[in-house]
Symmetry: C2
Subunit: 110 residues, 2 copies
DNA sequence: TTAAAATATGAACGGTTGTTCATATGTTCA
DNA sequence: TGAACATATGAACAACCGTTCATATTTTAA
């Protein structure tokens, strides 16, 4: 179950890691990027702010689905809303998103 | 269901988006970051290469669980293995990982 | 105020995913 | 070869998650 300097390694590596709570939050943050519908919504919002029904048409899903996913994005502070008449206009909240996207794309394109 | 320049917007935004396949792959890639066990495994590997049982002790989970998750990380080309005797030593495959981590951390720390 | 349009929300379902247990495979050493 | 250790893998279960349908809320305009 353990070899040579196993125990020292374990404690030293653990000591240098961010605390578990932070890493849990980090996982929750990346979880948002782990769904293709949300990815496509964010991608559409790179161009400009959009109303819910526009987004629904762009990603080809129900208005209800898009609303639910926009709530998830809002809860993680990735998008913000602006009401204008009957429409809600969503836009990206954070500049990190684009960079994270680009890095992901670089990876999957070898 | 649609307002003023709805239709033009939809087609123009769609035209400038990466194709659906790419974005699907991208979501699959980020999905790997969306689990705290995998996050903690990757985080441990930032320090150095580690054997499976070391990783299991560091993250405080069963050896079996860690093995399963390492397979997921391997399938997405995020880690590589090296056999040495009875142990399998895992290490990070890609430099993007650290950058993606840092950007995620920057976001959750406001 | 009523109708219509846009969005938000709750419940339910089906599918996915992470963990565990048990066990198989691989490796070393006596 | 056999025992002991390290790792990998399959099956099964529970929990989570994304979508849809139905409906509620909000806003405008007649």
């Amino acid at each position: 179950m353990s070899h040579d300097n196993h125990k020292e390694l374990v404690t030293s590596v653990k000591a240098n890691m961010p605390d578990a709570d932070t890493l849990f939050e980090l996982a929750d943050f990346f979880k948002v990027f782990g769904d293709s519908t949300r990815i496509r919504i964010m991608c559409a919002l790179f161009e400009r702010e959009l109303s819910v029904c526009c987004i629904a048409d762009i990603v080809g899903m129900e208005q209800s689905t898009v609303s639910h996913q926009l709530r998830v994005l809002r809860q993680e502070n990735l998008v913000k809303v602006r009401r204008e008449g009957k429409q809600s206009y969503y836009s990206l909240e954070d500049e990190h998103i684009k960079l994270i996207f680009e890095m992901g794309l670089e990876h999957i394109l070898e």
